[in-house]
Symmetry: C3
Subunit: 162 residues, 3 copies
Amino acid sequence: MTQVGTTERTTIVLFSGDLDKSIAAFIIANGAAAYDHEVTIFFTFWGLNALRKDQPVPVKKGLLEKAFAWMMPRGSKKLGLSRMNFAGAGPAMIKHVMKKHNALSLPQLIELAQAQGVKLVACTMTMDLLGLQQEELLDGIEYAGVAAYLGDATEAKVNLFI
Amino acid sequence: MTQVGTTERTTIVLFSGDLDKSIAAFIIANGAAAYDHEVTIFFTFWGLNALRKDQPVPVKKGLLEKAFAWMMPRGSKKLGLSRMNFAGAGPAMIKHVMKKHNALSLPQLIELAQAQGVKLVACTMTMDLLGLQQEELLDGIEYAGVAAYLGDATEAKVNLFI
Amino acid sequence: MTQVGTTERTTIVLFSGDLDKSIAAFIIANGAAAYDHEVTIFFTFWGLNALRKDQPVPVKKGLLEKAFAWMMPRGSKKLGLSRMNFAGAGPAMIKHVMKKHNALSLPQLIELAQAQGVKLVACTMTMDLLGLQQEELLDGIEYAGVAAYLGDATEAKVNLFI
């Protein structure tokens, strides 16, 4: 926070809704923030699931939107693995070893990111498509489209799509 | 188009043959092109499937090449989803909500990219391996290898692998 | 090796344990190295499997670590495809066409990368979590965490997450 126009920037598009990829995204984001990078994570498509609140929020939805809401994992505690998911046994194993090694869980990594000022941006176009509403996502999130992402990315050197 | 050597560049390696990831790639590419970036999408491995023509093209192929041609989706209308594919029900749902929200379909996004001058480059090494021939891919595509991709990427700030 | 502080850098986070994605990562890395880029591949999560030795190495492990070691592919010859894996038939097909076209296999691509001075870095945090030990990985590998990766990435223009 002490730089004069020389702050490093890092952006991540989190497209994936997998637990392991989301953890990787937040570890990189938190690492970059710890080195004083301005960090943006742009959540799009399945990546938005990590931002959903644990509990259903009473909002009005059409039939298709209800179907999406029901089929997609509700929040960071419900995500599956990109491989070796084994109907949920894989995530349980990973969470177990992470706890054993005192590694932060995904919900804790998200909290840390917010505490460090990582900008969490929900892709409004995907929200429209999947019928997700702001009330259903975590507090403290920003809402924007691909133009805002590109604005940040062109200022950054490290731009990842996860 | 008004810059003097300061044009921003964006490159995307499209490795994935998934509908959702291909849509994300083209939305980012079209967004960047709208902001006057010079944009390259380098299609490699399964990503090439988005460039295949809808209809079989009569070309001579060996047995393995025929097998690949038959097993892989033929063009941007046939791609599946990276998750929630449900034997084709998922892509139908996504296409339905995209139409409902007046979002461009993948074939339309590809057309728009070409109209905006986005450089679509098919990876010749993968074409050799999978036995894909130029006649089988969309018109207006360029053909090159990883060296050409790296040439563009080292001039760009936003480089994504999707 | 002739530059004066202007060496291009390229970094790749190899998160995926898929054969096709690992091949893509090493083709890009070797291409960049051939153009005198300083290249780092940071192997994390399933990506570490490409670095495992073919043969089991006698090390002491807990039960969960043994389970991971047994479930995950042991080395670059055992990886599966991200799609069309067909219980191992897909990788065999890909390896067959690569051999037919005189393309380097993944083990050869790894060797070439090491010969070209590509820095192969194993993510120590993931090693801890999955219970992988240095003796189990290829020789000539470096060991570091996300901070070291970010250090290299902020010096690079081409940064990919695969």
